[in-house]
């Protein structure tokens, strides 16, 4: 009975089934979970950090080629996806707040909206990838790249250097998309738990942890968007 608990606090008919015996109280249990999640996110920061580092080095070396390659990816798709992810982050905080305040309908609605926005993101990403395939901008045997270097009339980008840009583009956005897919799996699980009424104001740790993960993936995109799409866009 998750709904009756909000007014009266802890039930006393049994021990709190949500509180593991090695924690003193629910707050300590929640802090421990948050801390563990943040340590995991720290490893994720370093994981993506290596790719950002490689990107920075090559961007410095081959700036003109990177600028030319960056111009061929669709800025409108990237900007739209940024807005989509920001909106999904809002629905995630609403879900966490709904779980904290025992609002089951809002919780379920927010979780579904988050997943829908995640699917929109992946759909737009798919359209974008498809364009890159038809343009032969995917690194590999059929890679072709004939584009002028911005600001250097008559000079064409070195296709080998542009290929490095697209390798980084596909690895970084692909790894990000993989995180989105995993996030969708987590949120599907959260949705079934919420549907069964498992979350209470005393215990909704999975919603909070899933939320932290989703926000982290949003932050990665907040950096990927300007770095990959907006290198050199002025006319």
């Amino acid at each position: 009975m998750p709904d009756s608990s909000s007014a009266t606090g802890l039930h006393t008919e049994e021990h709190n089934p949500a509180l593991l015996h090695h924690f003193a109280d629910p707050e300590q249990q929640r802090d421990a979970a948050s801390l563990g999640m943040w340590v995991f996110l720290a490893t994720e920061i370093m994981f993506f950090g290596g790719l950002f580092c490689a990107y920075l080095v090559y961007r410095r070396w081959y700036f003109g080629d990177f600028a030319a390659a960056s111009r061929t990816i669709n800025m409108a798709y990237g900007a739209t996806n940024t807005a989509v992810l920001i909106c999904s982050s809002l629905t995630v905080v609403l879900a966490v707040w709904a779980a904290q305040t025992a609002r089951r309908t809002l919780l379920i609605t927010s979780l579904i909206l988050t997943m829908l926005l995640g699917l929109v993101f992946l759909g737009i990403k798919g359209i974008e990838y498809r364009e890159k395939f038809t343009e032969h901008h995917v690194p590999g045997a059929s890679f072709r790249f004939v584009q002028p270097i911005p600001g250097h009339p008559g000079q064409y980008a070195n296709p080998r250097h542009a290929q490095i840009f697209f390798s980084l583009y596909f690895v970084m956005t692909g790894l990000h998309a993989l995180h989105m897919i995993i996030g969708l799996g987590i949120f599907l699980w959260l949705l079934t738990m919420a549907w069964k009424g498992r979350f209470t104001p005393e215990w909704h740790t999975p919603v909070e942890m899933g939320g932290l993960y989703w926000h982290f993936v949003d932050i990665v995109w907040i950096y990927l968007f300007p770095l990959l799409y907006l290198i050199d866009r002025h006319p």
């Binding site: 720290a42 807005a83 920001i86 982050s89 609403l94 707040w97 300007p226």
Partner: protein, 100 residues
């Protein structure tokens, strides 16, 4: 129950929507700034806006600002410190090689 709701005695919803609007405005701003020719400042402005947006998400959506447990703040700072070490030391090397 009382312990964790004390941090948000008033409804945090207003703040969440304000952060959401700020993030959308930041996205519009970064797209606009990219279309201007600001020479070396284009990258700096784009990264500054991205960092402001990421900070807003971390502090308010991920509740680092209100984190009761100080260890969480320590982990966040440590992660950023080592990321800066990675990027900073690598770039001070590659950016100061006159032969490459």
């Amino acid at each position: 129950m009382s312990a964790h709701s004390s941090a948000s005695a008033t409804s945090p919803l207003k703040g969440y929507f304000a952060v959401w609007i700020a993030l959308l405005v930041g996205t519009g701003l970064t797209v606009y700034a990219a279309t201007l020719d600001l020479a070396p400042y284009n990258a700096a402005i784009a990264l500054a806006i991205a960092t402001i947006k990421a900070t807003l998400v971390a502090l308010f959506f991920m509740h680092v600002w209100h984190a009761g447990e100080k260890l969480i703040k320590l982990v966040v700072i440590a992660a950023l410190f080592f990321l800066m070490l990675l990027l900073g030391l690598t770039m001070t090397d590659y950016a100061t090689r006159p032969w490459s």
